[in-house]
């Protein structure tokens, strides 16, 4: 449905209001099989439009998924009526960003899912399930998983003339096979996402999920104690994700960040370098412009252990008196906030085996389960269920499970060592394996 956006810009101008309109249109498809029968087939078309109104020091947003003119009028009028109830500490502004640099970049869009025949996609989902049964006779079901893709167009316009558009697309496969061996059951999953259909590798995905299942079946519970741990890069990513939350300027402004008032201070080991890189090949967080329409650009967050910047947008930067990192994020349904794009941690020199050698005796952590709920963002303390392998004399020994690793996210990065390998399968983080000494493990 064609929307008359000009009408809303004119209405806003009549009321001396600055207006930003963010609109998205997404088409997605997913398909799954169970017991060789197609179990789910979903095709979705969705659209949403968000208004952001500013006048004086007041700002408000509203949205509608119904593009009927009457409904859009209602959403606009609702925001206008309530605008004066939302004064800000610092006067928010719109900016004229007429660059279109990188808007068409193939960093976040390579091929439309529409170019792939739907029967081919259904066959991919079918083969995904079938392969598990072929590869391991102990697989009793593949209850969750399948194929999915999406393509979306995001457009940002404002009354100062900013008009930017980006297109995104992606393909994913994922599965959770259930294995049963001698009355013991285990279910483990693996997923893979890419900007290109051809990159989806069923064999690799199935092998990864089945290896995890096999390890879990053989695993025992380690003894309670204090251990040196090597975190696999995928696990280390999740820890870095928590740390980056404290480098978010919005959290700093709202007095929630543990790094509040510590800009420029040495808070971590000198080995820690963290960057936000919004134009990174193959990474899912890449974006040409932020949600205020500014060109995306890299930001040093931690440099040799010192906090060098907080992620910010124009308002947060002004409130904190720091440089804007052009990290504004918002959806059509949310207010202007701050978020990372792709986070990259500097690698070390050693490979994983060399880290094991340094460990001598400890645990190699291959999976965290429930980190989101086991993390206290106020204190930085975490207590999270884990799986992995005991390491003895530098080599992987028995698989271990049913234990809990506890620590504090800030303390973890005061003393650590990084390996030289990243996990590169999609995602928005590039983080190596890390060795963290003296963490608490609760087991038997």
């Amino acid at each position: 449905m064609k929307i008359n956006k000009e009408k809303y810009f004119n209405k806003a101008a009549d009321q001396s209001v600055d207006l930003e309109i963010l609109s998205t249109k997404t088409e997605s498809f997913e398909c799954s099989f169970q017991k060789e029968q197609m179990d789910g087939f979903q095709s979705s078309n969705s659209q949403s439009l968000g208004f952001r109104l500013l006048r004086g020091n007041c700002e408000i947003t509203s949205f509608s998924e119904n593009f009927n003119e009457k409904e859009l009028d209602k959403a606009f009028d609702l925001a206008l009526e309530n605008l004066d109830s939302f004064p800000k500490e610092y006067q928010p502004k719109l900016y004229k960003n007429d660059s279109s640099a990188n808007d068409d970049s193939n960093l976040f869009y390579k091929e439309s899912p529409k170019t792939i025949n739907i029967d081919q996609k259904i066959e991919m989902a079918k083969q995904l399930e079938k392969k598990f049964y072929e590869m391991d006779s102990n697989v009793t079901a593949v209850p969750y998983g399948g194929y999915s893709d999406y393509t979306s167009v995001v457009r940002l316009q404002n009354s100062l003339g900013t008009n930017r558009t980006s297109q995104f697309s992606g393909y994913s496969i994922g599965a959770y096979p259930l294995l049963e061996v001698e009355n013991d059951k285990v279910m483990k999953g693996a997923g893979y996402s890419s900007l290109q259909y051809e990159s989806l590798n069923l064999d690799q995905l199935c092998k990864s999920a089945l290896d995890q299942c096999q390890n879990a079946l053989q695993a025992t519970q380690p003894s309670t104690g204090v251990y040196n741990l090597v975190m696999k890069n995928t696990v280390a990513q999740s820890l870095i994700g928590l740390l980056v939350g404290h480098l978010n300027g919005k959290q700093v402004k709202d007095k929630k960040s543990l790094l509040k008032d510590r800009l420029g201070e040495l808070c971590f080991s000198k080995s820690l370098d963290l960057k936000d890189l919004p134009m990174l090949e193959g990474a899912s967080g890449s974006r040409a412009f932020d949600s205020e329409g500014f060109d995306s650009r890299p930001t040093d967050l931690v440099n040799a252990g010192k906090v060098s910047n907080f992620l910010s947008n124009s308002v947060i930067a002004a409130e904190l008196g720091i440089k804007n990192s052009f990290s504004a994020v918002r959806s059509t349904k949310s207010n202007l906030s701050v978020g990372s794009s792709n986070i990259v941690m500097e690698k070390g020199d050693k490979d994983r085996t060399q880290l094991f050698n340094e460990l001598n005796q400890g645990i190699y952590i291959t999976e965290f389960k429930g980190l989101r709920s086991g993390y206290n963002s106020a204190s930085g303390d975490f207590s999270v269920q884990a799986e992995g392998f005991l390491i003895e004399n530098g080599t992987k020994k028995a698989a271990v499970k049913d234990f809990v690793v506890s620590g504090n996210i800030i303390d973890c990065f005061k003393e650590f060592e990084a390996s030289n390998n990243y996990h590169l399968a999609g995602g928005s983080m590039r983080v190596p394996d890390i060795l963290i000494p003296n963490l608490s493990v609760a087991g038997k």
Binding site: Q37, M38, D39, G40, Q42, S43, S44, N45, S46, Q47, I60, T61, S62, F63, S64, E65, N66, E71, A75, L78, N82, S85, F86, I118, T140, A141, P143, Y144, L178, K185, V186, M187, T224, G225, V226, D254, K256, K333, N335, K369, G370, R372, S373, G374, N376, S377, A378, S379, G380, D381, S383, V384, F403, V404, V405, S406, V441, A442, G443, K444
Partner: protein, 464 residues
Amino acid sequence: MLLSDNTIANIIQKGLDKQADFVEIFAENKLINDMFYQNDRLENANLGVEAGIGIRLLYGTESIYLTSNSFEEKDLIALIDTYKRNSGSESNTNYKPSPAKKVEPSYIRYRDIPSDQSYKSRMEFMETIAKKSKEQSSLVQQVEVKTSFHLQEVQIANSEGLHLFDTRPYTSYLGQCISRNEKDQEMGFQRGGSMTDLSLFEKGFDPEAIAKKITDQSIRLLDAEFAPAGEMPVILSNGFGGVIFHEACGHGLETTSVAADASVFCGQLDKQVASSVVTAIDDGTIDSSWGSIHVDDEGMKTQKTTLIENGILKRYIVDRVGHLKTGFERTGSGRRESYKFAPTSRMRNTYIAAGDSSLEEMIRDVDFGLYATDMGGGSVSPGTGDYNFAVKEGRVIRNGKLEELVKGASLIGRGIDTLKKIDKVGNDIELANGTCGSSSGWVPVTVGQPSLLVSKLTVGGRAS
């Protein structure tokens, strides 16, 4: 009405012409009105409308689900045409349209509160929490309060002649207080909600009590030690402690898992799956409760379902596709977050029924263990029931007495094993609100239980 009788009829006929065995339309208009109070002022609002249509075609147990934000008949007919199967062959079935019936409210009530009045009472509610919390202690750094009112209107019609219209009001708050001393920072948190209108902010919730709770907790935790680590007896507190049953057992009782052989409860009907002191219920009909519904998202009148009785598995939680796959009778439990999701079997208000033990008696029975007084969230592997849950706050039990306050632990275990290790069920049942995420999205639910004594769980605190 979101779609006319005529449009409903034409869409269903189109689905039948595609030779579907069953056609269903779920049309939705959801008003969102969220307000965020922070930094001593109304910081933000989230105002808008989520609206769209979900069309489901069933071929046996195979589900085709199509969604759109357009309410135009031609767009919806074209949407069905994007699904190529069986195109070209006309149906022999002629759909007979029926006018929509409005679901008459009985235990979920709603009245439209004038916006000036509701704005005033919400503002007073949020301001009072922030003000009282900050007055209570100079350690308080930040108080955040979110109040929400969501009004979901749904129209559900299917090829079996069902056609109804239902209104579901959700009013809720989240309150959070962050306190800091010279060495630590901690958070107190409280939430509440009900299926009713905005009058709750005038006479339902008590902002001063909420302020005291969140402030007290954030300050208490500043001086708490870390929980011990290892295997030990655990008393799970009443109310939100029920999240463990919900996650670790409840999901395994949904036919979405059972039909896929992805549940430890497969084939266990009429068998002992829990300690004989355990009776568990999933009830959609509790007055104004957060997880209640009059009809489910497939249009079926909901019900009270006894899942486990004295340790014996009695029923599963069943939606339409679950019924088709397993043969079990539907329980009015087909739920979805919105039109963007096909419905699946989901819990409503799920709780373990009261027993006859007192909390004091349970504490007396423990030589060394943990009393988990405030639980956080967790996650579960549905195929195995392996779970992990955060304990936000607890007390160590030594020699039958409550001792030091502790924080920062996780509980891990396997649901079906834990059910068998429940030694005592308290007489102090409470329900608590939550939001449950699964394959049909996030839906409002209530969890609950009395205090429970579990003979052994792995507690992930700090080892020394």
